[in-house]
């Protein structure tokens, strides 16, 4: 179906050509940009509505209940009820809060999410801005969320909010290091930071076959980056109420919710782009493949949320610095070695060598872990 394959790209060309007939070229370009921005915002809103419903439904099933099923068929109109509630809810600003920071935080938390959506390749040619520094841009912009959340925690002037905000900063900066290191392997194989080139580099084999460990490290750190279960300590309701958004209500709370869900979708989409081949795939249109892969990863995110209990904070920080960072460094060096040794020998030796090397790393980790456990037991027995 070549017609469906490039549906959105052809549509945008057609609109641009149509506009260029009446307007000067720069005006047509400007209108196209504004249309793209409108599309991105509408896309974000549809995604948050759909994901919110899907997650409640799926988590409900995991916990042996129905999930939302009152509003509309299968509860699909639940988001309408939620939106009405968010709009009509009273907005409370605590008397003690720092008003400027308190109101600035919900605005600032939304901005990076929209900015990242611009570089995601949704399909062939379906990228709003194909930057040649694509992945670096994502890393830089997504760390702005940390500042917004710290502002929220500090500005609320609530002890629980402040604790949540401080935890967010500690967690997000710790997990940023393994996340960025694990993506380096992909960039090494592609030789480009642009997400479009990374997807095109996977036309023969998705990078998950060359970088299974890299994918795993990226996935774990990405879950921690977006503060989802089992790494949702910043909003652990059983110890610090709701963390940094304890004091927020109404529309401001909705902004935090929006940023949280869209960010979760974005990390799933980036994982699909970097490791699963993005929009590459047989017979179905490219954008369908992209969403299938992104939602498959998002389903695993929901699955983990429904399965695993929350970690303790010292375990969480230890996992990042004592396990993921060394593992990512070793993985990077081994992948560099493998890439150099199999250079110019074709694809099959590269895949085979990568898989063997990754298997060796896993075996080494298991052996070291077993030794460490034995030594700890001996120490405990001696004591």
């Amino acid at each position: 179906m070549p017609f469906l394959n490039d549906l959105f790209v052809n549509l945008s060309y057609w609109i641009h050509g149509f506009l260029a007939r009446f307007l000067p070229l720069w005006a047509a370009d400007l209108i196209m940009m504004l249309l793209t921005i409108a599309c991105l915002i509408v896309f974000a809103l549809i995604t948050i509505m759909f994901i919110n419903w899907l997650e409640r439904k799926v988590i409900g099933r995991f916990q042996d209940r129905y999930g939302p099923n009152r509003v509309g068929p299968l509860g699909i109109l639940q988001f309408v009820a939620d939106a009405i509630k968010m709009f009509t809810k009273e907005d409370i600003t605590p008397a003690n809060a720092d008003r400027v920071i308190f109101n600035l935080a919900p605005v600032m938390v939304v901005v990076p999410t929209f900015l990242i959506l611009a570089v995601l390749p949704f399909g062939r040619g379906m990228v709003a801005a194909d930057l040649n520094i694509g992945f670096l841009y994502i890393v830089a912009i997504s760390s702005l969320t940390t500042i917004a959340i710290l502002l929220a925690g500090w500005g609320s002037r609530n002890k629980y909010s402040l604790l949540g905000g401080m935890r967010v900063v500690a967690q997000m900066i710790s997990y940023e290091v393994p996340m960025v290191l694990s993506a380096l392997g992909v960039i090494m194989l592609t030789g480009s930071l642009s997400l479009v080139s990374i997807v095109e580099g996977q036309s023969r084999v998705p990078f998950i076959l060359l970088q299974p460990l890299g994918f795993l490290i990226y996935f774990i750190s990405a879950i921690a980056e977006v503060n989802r279960a089992p790494f949702d300590l910043p909003e652990a309701e059983s110890e610090i109420i709701a963390g940094y958004h304890t004091e927020y209500s109404g529309m401001k709370y909705a902004m935090f919710l929006l940023a949280e869900y869209i960010n979760a979708f974005i990390v799933a989409a980036i994982a699909a782009t970097l490791f699963l081949g993005g929009w590459q795939g047989p017979s179905l249109p490219p954008y369908v493949w992209f969403f299938l892969k992104a939602y498959a990863i998002y389903f695993v995110l929901m699955w983990l949320r429904g399965t695993l209990p929350r970690l303790r904070i010292d375990q969480l920080m230890g996992l990042a610095w004592k396990f993921l960072v060394p593992l990512a460094l070793v993985n990077l060096l081994v992948m560099g070695l493998v890439a150099t040794l199999t250079q110019g020998k074709g694809l099959f030796p590269l895949v085979l060598a990568s898989l063997v090397a990754n298997g060796l790393i896993v075996a080494a980790v298991v052996i070291i872990y077993a030794f460490a456990m034995r030594r700890r037991r001996q120490v405990e027995v001696a004591a």
Binding site: M33, T36, I37, L40, I41, M86, F87, T88, E90, D91, I92, P94, A95, N96, P106, V107, V110, V111, T113, F114, L115, A118, A128, A129, D130, L131, L136, S156, R157, N158, L162, M166, V169, A170, I173, V177, G185, I187, M188, G191, S192, L193, I241, T246, G250, M251, A254, D314, M317, G318, W321, K322, P326, L329, L332, L333, G336, L337, T340, Q343
Partner: protein, 118 residues
Amino acid sequence: MLSDYAFLGLLLIAAILFPLAAMFMAFLIRPKKPGPTKKSTYECGLETIGETWVRFRVQYYIYALVFVIFDIETVFLYPWAVAYNQLGLFALVEMFIFLGILVGGLLYAWRKGVLEWF
């Protein structure tokens, strides 16, 4: 390429306007009945005791320092990774040395107990 950055500039403006517009619309519809109890700090019904904006342990900032070191290291690694295919064996050896120094730093921090969270 330049038009891409112009697009991002426009998107930045739109992304700032979007939450402002949503909050303004909610401002028009929502009820406004503030009260002293409602505006008090939420602490599960108890009065909040003592100063909230306290100082944090120095350990916290050491974490941040370690992060800065490693983050800058990864930024240095990006150009290396991009040019990796053209550089060949020389780049690999150089990176072994560079990462070796940093792993030494990480081990030192580990032994010093900087990576422990209390």
